[in-house]
Amino acid sequence: MTSQALYQGTSDYVASTDLQQVVNVALAIGRPLLLKGEPGTGKTLLAASIAEALKRPLLRWNIKSTTKAVDGLYVYDTVQRLNDSRFGGGDVGNVKHYIKLGKMGLAFTAEQPVVLLIDEIDKADLEFPNDLLAEIDEMRFHIPETDEEISARHRPMVVITSNSEKELPDPFLRRCVFHFIEFPDEAMMTRIVQVHFPDLEKKLLQAALQKFFELRKLPNLKKPPSTSELIDWLHALLAMGIDSKRILEETPMLGVLLKNEQDQAHPRIARLRR
């Protein structure tokens, strides 16, 4: 259909068929891909995987509660300029010298198409996504200080992740392709684990997965274990040389899976441990 390569997951990231399709749709129609899902379902990793599969550089813009939209475009370092003008050093007369492009600015000016990850967009202020609308739509922005117009040489593939701490504004959502990453089921999880542990003994894997999903099903867990905890747990189990029988009998090293004190004190977990 187009010259763009299709995304099909990478050797270290297992993408379900629907996820692959969604990524390709976002690529085809050139819209940002908005990902939501439980922590630990691989939202952030997906961006890295897309970058790897498409052989594009990955630019990562981590959002904090204090991040402003303009930070991603450019930063005008006034304090540095003030300092230089007072104490000398630097080319004070040239404003450009003090304009530093942010992650989005870099994505626009890059020589080749890139993957831009806007990680945890919901951490920022409620108005943050709205402030990026024009830039995402038109793929360009204006720097008033230098009267420069930065427009994208290549449309970057924008991947946005959200933990739904805040609801995102409708006009912003309208411009996104949305996907909610479900927690992997057992078959999918088996594939994911096999990517990380290609030579894992089958019995051990089954035992570990059985315990893992048992734990996840417990009612009222504050923080149910996710994929990354499972991987850590398997690492720990292997390092300690624990076999499948022991896993089933006593669920060892629970601390790797459950990080919350209250969760560890869960009555049914006490029973699991015996």
Binding site: M1, N24, G30, V79, L82, R174, C176
Partner: protein, 406 residues
């Protein structure tokens, strides 16, 4: 079929507009060679639905429109539909790559695919894709005749929709603390507070230039949430079935560190002269004392079913607790509380269907705005709390408007 789908989505309150719909057509045209019910299911979901809380509504609409539709019929309809509607002039912002495929080419490919599919159907044999990657997969496993290819246990789109796995993400059902937290978070009121630690660039430049270029840094106070919240919870008796719910609301409010102050108290059935600090109701603070301790700007969330014997609410000394006899009736106390804390709402775990039919729920809801104890209800309640509250000023007894929120 497709327009019906569009309207059933809208009927189920999925906010689909022409914007999304045009996107979908654009994507379908780009993906046409691969079209199938399954792909359409995921494609439509990615482009039309922007929140997991609406996935369930999408599933319902999808079921209503595409359940039992034969694959071949689906393709024919899809071709007709795109043929009729897709007009390049109607599609703004088309990415350059897509233009290369003109409509005739698209249609030709599509017809080709359709022909193949018909043959397979007429032959009555399975049309098996290699390695499970064909979008058509095995036929006949389901009324819609299509199965998702790909490894890892394919699900039929219609079947996925049928399972309605996203029912739990609906907003109008009661959910986990995280979502309650999100709702509560909106109850914030930012005001400059604390130590001046934020660099004020404008001020710095101003002061520096006044200082003949000698740098003089100016700092200002960061803005922090000034909202204060009080949670009053009914415990015991008829509230027992809802204990877990109330607990999750409590933990959500408690864990939200952004409130300037958060206090919680318990009561049984109705609030009288005492509010308890423990669930067992052994320790209490007189309600009057609460009025003194906590400012009128506190937001108050009352959680309770408001179901009680009418005399508990309307008759003096009507309290269910022997020790709590008081000359004033429950409703009089509730009125006092509402007068003292104008920003007050009631969250009721009972279904709103019962509210009007039950004498005490009805009476309480006449006095204090009542919302169901669901995520949607809490959001509505927070909106109510956020409203501008006119606080009567004590000094001159005149009413002065004070805007609580920016």
């Amino acid at each position: 079929m497709f327009l019906a789908f569009f309207y059933s989505l809208r009927a189920l309150k999925v906010p689909v507009g022409t914007h999304e719909w045009l996107d979908l057509m654009e994507a379908l045209s780009a993906e046409l060679s691969e079209s199938s019910v399954d792909r359409f299911y995921y494609l439509g979901r990615a482009l039309l639905v922007k929140s997991e809380s609406l996935y369930d509504a999408y599933d319902q609409a999808f079921l209503a429109c595409f359940s039992g539709v034969e694959a071949a019929e689906f393709k024919k309809q899809l071709a007709d539909w795109l043929n009729r509607v897709v007009d390049p002039a109607q599609r703004p912002e088309l990415p350059p790559g897509l233009e290369k495929l003109d409509l005739d080419e698209l249609r030709r490919r599509f017809q080709e695919r359709l022909r193949q599919q018909n043959e397979a159907h007429h032959g009555g044999s399975h049309w098996v894709g290699t390695g499970g990657t064909s979008p058509f997969g095995h036929s006949g496993a389901h009324p819609s005749g299509i199965r998702i290819g790909g490894p890892g246990g394919g699900r039929m789109a219609v079947k996925v929709a049928e399972e309605r796995r996203f029912r739990n993400y609906r907003h109008d059902l009661v959910l986990d603390t995280r979502q309650l937290k999100v709702a509560l978070k909106r109850l914030r009121r930012l005001e400059p507070t604390g130590q001046a630690v934020e660099l004020d660039i404008g001020g710095t430049i101003d002061k520096t230039s006044r200082n003949a270029g000698e740098i003089d840094l100016v700092y200002r106070q960061p803005r922090k949430n000034q909202a204060e919240l009080m949670l009053l919870m009914d415990v015991g008796g008829s509230m027992d079935p809802y204990a877990q719910l109330v607990e999750s609301l409590f933990s959500a409010a408690h864990a939200s560190r952004h409130f300037k102050a958060f206090h919680h108290f318990y009561f049984h059935n109705c609030i009288y002269s005492r509010l308890y600090t423990d669930m067992q109701q052994r320790h209490f603070v007189p309600t009057e004392e609460i009025f003194r301790r906590y400012r009128r700007s506190f937001h108050v969330l009352v959680v309770g079913d408001a179901c009680m014997n009418p005399y508990e609410l309307f008759v003096p000394n009507g309290s269910i607790d022997y020790f709590e006899s008081h000359a004033e009736s429950g409703i009089a106390w509730l009125r006092k509380i509402r007068e003292h804390y104008p920003s007050i709402v009631w969250l009721n775990p009972e279904s709103p269907d019962y509210w009007n039919g039950h004498p005490t729920i009805h009476a309480v809801s006449q006095l204090i705005r009542m919302f169901p104890l669901t995520v949607a209800g809490l959001t509505g309640a927070v909106d109510e709390l956020r409203k501008e509250v006119v606080l009567p000023s004590f000094q001159n007894a005149a009413f002065s408007g004070q805007r609580l929120y920016e």
